[in-house]
Symmetry: C2
Subunit: 384 residues, 2 copies
């Protein structure tokens, strides 16, 4: 297997793009990533997307995005794994480059949801759950996260306000990110006073479903050198699954797939969690940020929430997360979010994060979850 | 890159499975393929599916099928490329094994459409077209094929009845296939008298949209030997794309992606079309069978239809197609059809096709199209 590097990144602003189609967004990010790599084309295109068919009546985004981007004829396919679709596409592309079937791979994650908010988008997201036994009973993705949070509060004797640090940190960090959807600040007081939307999840707890696209260009190391790039190295790309239904999980607060995917990534990279300087986790809800910190080995069971309270998740803390806003403030275009994470980690490792820069960051981790942890994809990146 | 072999196949009967879910069908085929390979599990699962989200409200089939098949935890993802989803999943799995990221790969194609016939299923299929410029104008997949057929008739001075040999051949061959949806015979007279459904496509011309699942187990050659299997070798797996909108194609009767994908497959396999003993093509409509015969180099431009009239596509002809019924008579569960093709070619190369056996078949080709040729995936298989 060959070493793999990222030599190009691109992204659209995250937000409500009512005047632009799904493929418009994907094309903007794809061409920006190619331009950033100094390339005109790639050997193959992978598109990560969850809901094109359900919300926009548009499947077949591999061929379509290639076509609309002026890359007609390029081998292209779509990868889907619910809200982990973006990172799953990156994983498939990584394997193609590492395994030698492509030298230059373009990966785009795209989603367009705000035309169909709130009901159709939330129902769409529920197609990532167990349809027969959970979604059909009205248990949406948000309801699942609410149940996880309720259980966490009970198990560890906490109160809702203890989660305030996650959105506060995310919004603080998004201020310097021109691509973020929400650059306003959130205070702990505002979080504590916010209205409940799915108890115990409140209005300032969940990430906004959004429109957006992000892309990266992956190449083999030798190819990067030939193109004059140093690149950011992909040290590991791992994917694991778990029971889709929460009711079938042995230990609902453990996020088993996230833990196994992270463990495999550390093993493959030859690193321990302590080596990670910056992380982008699946903070679609604060509870998922806390559980992901635990699954990735940054905190012991039940201690993820403490990293928020102590400031360890801040830009100058022990394990900075959501450094450009995370899902919470950058926004969550679900099938694109895994690619936004990769773009943001590369931005940090290049030292291009401006006021959001984590000083001296050399190793970054990104973890994207699908269906509240039924799929988990972990990537570890480093400077060369 | 490593040599890749198929050592297990499985399939459900194609038909109207109103009492079974999408995952039920996928699990049956997956476990049958593992059983056929003498294995209990695999390293990774790829699921090919087009319309789970749109028709069944169920995305995230990678994790879900792994879970329901008793393989919880297995790395799994879904690949989608419209009605080429099945072969696109096989292509991704082939690359994983060839590139060394997995030793044993399970690939399942699944679709469930008949609960939603006719309108929702046909509208679902249209999500594989250019949504903004074609599908939104009411140009369904069938309407696109009808326009291709009309143009072919005009260009080459033919009449509808000249296409009769394709469904006659498909139904004749399906008689011996216990997994086929339609095992009745179709006569040339019946075809000539059939009612028009989208002129010039008539009721006996198009393949029935159906429910079904098919699966294969892919392993590296060394691994196959260690397991005591001879296996069927995958000599080539290639994917190409074209403009999604028919209106954007330079030469609408050429199926450019199909041609480029086939050419690349022949080059990779080191074979010419003359070496192919049996082929499964994308005969969702007779016109697509004729155009595919041309794109794969079995006939010159405008001559594909003649291979039907001369009997060359028959079981004892020069290039037998639809040998177990094809899309037309086996039925077309769209995201599964590419896997049914692979299962059927393996059945032929194993010499297990019973009354449908092509004598002495040693090399087989399968070609699956998405969005009337916007994506084309070609596989070439051989006995070891």
């Amino acid at each position: 297997m060959r070493d793999v590097n990222i030599i190009g990144i691109g992204q659209t602003k995250v937000g409500e793009h009512w005047d632009r189609s799904l493929s418009d967004l994907a094309v903007e990010a794809a061409l920006a990533a190619l331009d950033n790599a100094g390339l005109d084309t790639a050997d193959v295109l992978y598109v990560g997307n969850m809901l094109g068919g359900v919300l926009s009546g548009q499947e077949h985004l591999g061929a379509l995005v290639a076509d609309m981007a002026g890359l007609r004829g390029l081998p292209a396919l779509r990868v889907e794994a619910a809200d982990a679709s973006g990172a799953a596409a990156l994983h498939a592309a990584y394997q193609a480059v590492a395994g030698g079937s492509a030298d230059v791979t373009l990966v785009v994650g795209v989603e367009k949801m705000t035309d169909r908010l709130p009901d159709a988008a939330e129902a769409g997201l529920a197609t990532g759950s167990q349809g027969d036994y959970e979604a059909a009973q009205g248990i949406t993705a948000m309801a699942q996260s609410a149940m996880l949070m309720q259980r966490y509060l009970h198990q560890y004797g906490l109160e809702v306000g203890d989660f305030a640090a996650f959105p506060v940190n995310a919004h603080r960090n998004a201020a310097a990110n021109p691509f973020a959807m929400y650059r306003n600040q959130v205070t702990e007081k505002a979080y504590r006073q916010a209205k409940m939307v799915a108890t115990p999840i409140n209005l300032l707890d969940g990430a906004p479903l959004a429109d957006g696209a992000a892309a990266v260009v992956l190449v083999a190391t030798d190819h990067a050198r030939a193109l004059g790039h140093v690149g950011i190295r992909v040290l590991a790309s791992t994917l694991a699954t778990d029971s889709v239904a929460l009711t079938d999980r042995d230990d609902v607060l453990s996020l088993g797939a996230a833990r196994r995917s992270a463990d495999a990534a550390y093993t493959h990279a030859g690193l321990s969690p302590e080596a990670v300087d910056v992380a982008e986790l699946h903070d679609a809800y604060s509870i998922l940020a806390a559980l992901s910190l635990e699954a990735c080995g940054f905190a012991a069971r039940g201690q993820g929430i403490k990293l928020g309270q102590t400031g360890d998740i801040g830009r100058e803390g022990r394990i900075p997360i959501a450094t450009l806003g995370g899902f919470k403030a950058r926004g969550n275009p679900v099938g694109a979010s895994g690619l936004y994470q990769a773009v943001e980690i590369v931005t940090q490792l290049r030292g291009d994060a401006g006021a959001s820069q984590v000083a001296g960051a050399r190793v970054g981790l990104a973890q994207n979850l699908g269906g509240n942890g039924a799929t988990a994809v972990t990537h570890i990146f480093s400077v060369n």
